[in-house]
Amino acid sequence: MKINRNILIFSSLAFLTGILVLVGLLYNKTEDEKQNGLTELYDISREGIIAYVINKDGEQQIKFSKDGLEQEVVSINKEKVILDIAFSPDGSSLAYSVINRDVESDLVTTINIIDVDKLEEDNLFQKSGMITEIAFDPKDETNLFYLKADTFENYSPIARANPHNFDIYKYDMTGITHDQLTDWKKYSIDSLQVSASDESVYIQMFNDETAQTAEEIFDANLRIFNVPLKEPDKLSIVSDPKKEIDIYDFTVLSGEEKIIYQSVSNPHSGGTFQYELFEYDSTTNKEVQLTNLKEYTSRPIVHEEHIYFIVDKQFAQKYSDYYLYKMDLDGENIRKVELND
């Protein structure tokens, strides 16, 4: 009798566990499948078409939006992830950089280009390494600049793997040639932007050129640099050199005297950092805070009389929740841009 009771109890428990495992297998989602909605990646064409990347059930799509009309342009294989998108200066084509999600086993980036009118896609080139950012030359749309990391590894045993050994490259579409413009093998470089007025590019990276000791490297800050293409080692800091904290994403305004960038507005509060947009005028050396959303504000792009930017409403949470916003150039009239994501 007692044995029968025990058998009944433990069989029921095993049955319940089996049912729960089965339900789990049916409803479990991968990390990629859980991330839905807008990503940080977007660009705006000269004609005002907003190209943006969304996650949908584990795969990424590029969509166009203009005047409330949405159009799905490209769907990417679930195994791949888009790293950056960029419109050509005349807005006739959109280039995008795509790589396998499993970068540690297959570190090869493909750059494709989409004809905006015909929605036809073409492969531009493939390169070993990770092309994290692409930017057309506003002066010559046959030149595509890119930032490429040669490795994806963890520099320290207690650090996560990340792209490293960065350099700046240029791809000439007419001659189908690649030029390596720098030989720096930098720990990181971000926010590539090509100058509209001269032969130079703007980037963001650590000001650790003169750092010798570990303490000096640790004390280095992220700054915005102008890199002359003919003599890249004669680069110069164009953001406020006295700013005590890091500067992240940025965009250089036409005239190239003003920069809008992302930085932390409350570095000494002790709470969660709030990332806001700031405007810096290099002629007056003055900084003005444009946003005060107390969220994670990033990716400023200036189009006509507006600054577009991304806001992450779930910053420091498990999954991000991105929205596209726009405001006037003086930081007024902040409003959400409705996208069908």
Partner: protein
Amino acid sequence: MKKPFHSFITTILNQIDGTTEEKMDIYEEIEVHLELNTKRYMEEGFDQKKAEQLAMTDFGESHKIGNDMQEAMYPMRKKLLLFLAITSIAFSVTLYITYLIAERDAEIIWLLLSIGTSSGLLLFALQVFPSIDQKRWINSVLIGHIFTYLLGTLIATNMIHIFTPFLTIYGITLLLVSIILIYRTTIIDFTFHSTKNVKQAKQLHFINITAGIIITGATLFFLWGILIFSETFPPFLLAIFIPFIIWLVAYYIQMNLVSHNKRKIAYTIAMIPFVFIVIIVIFLIWNAIPKGVFV
């Protein structure tokens, strides 16, 4: 040849936790009592078989006697184990389903481990295998239970759901009950029939379990810190387990020493993990003060 009362006494002993040595002592005591009663009935004129039956009837129903003896020797143990097993299974099912709904993550391995350790406790509560050394096995399962439900509590805290505070408190309560049961099984229910250095052994168990909780907690905290920032676990980081190994070896040596009546050396060794803990705490406070942690 099988003894006449063997089956009757074994049924009683199957209801009782304890070591083989303890059970043998109880076996002999009951057997002597039954034999004396049998002899008395035979003197009154009953034949041997009838006398044995009357002796057993006088003694009482074997299951009830066994349960009463278990309750007298280890008060509330079965009920506490049953309570912990059932509430733990309820926690496992609730957390697994809630996490699946909230995060779309099926923590299948954790579910199997937690149902496994809870079933282990249920086995002891229902005394499915009465012949095994209950105390050692109960403590082993309880230690596994604590690690599994610590992970469960961390899963609960990591979840974005209305149930998160409830499940976190629930998990912490299960951990506390499990820790209390380890203290209780080791110290209060300490070897029932043993008389040699019982007081000293109880004190040493208390000191070592307390030090063990602190050292294991600190080791797990640093391990968690490392795994957050690193995707790999380089071999040199295994050094993090050195304090735990020192504690384990010191504990084993102390219990051996006290059983050989070498109490002073045992107490001296017992202080080693505590000295380590005090030095580490002073070091951490000393380093934290200049960084303004306490301001």
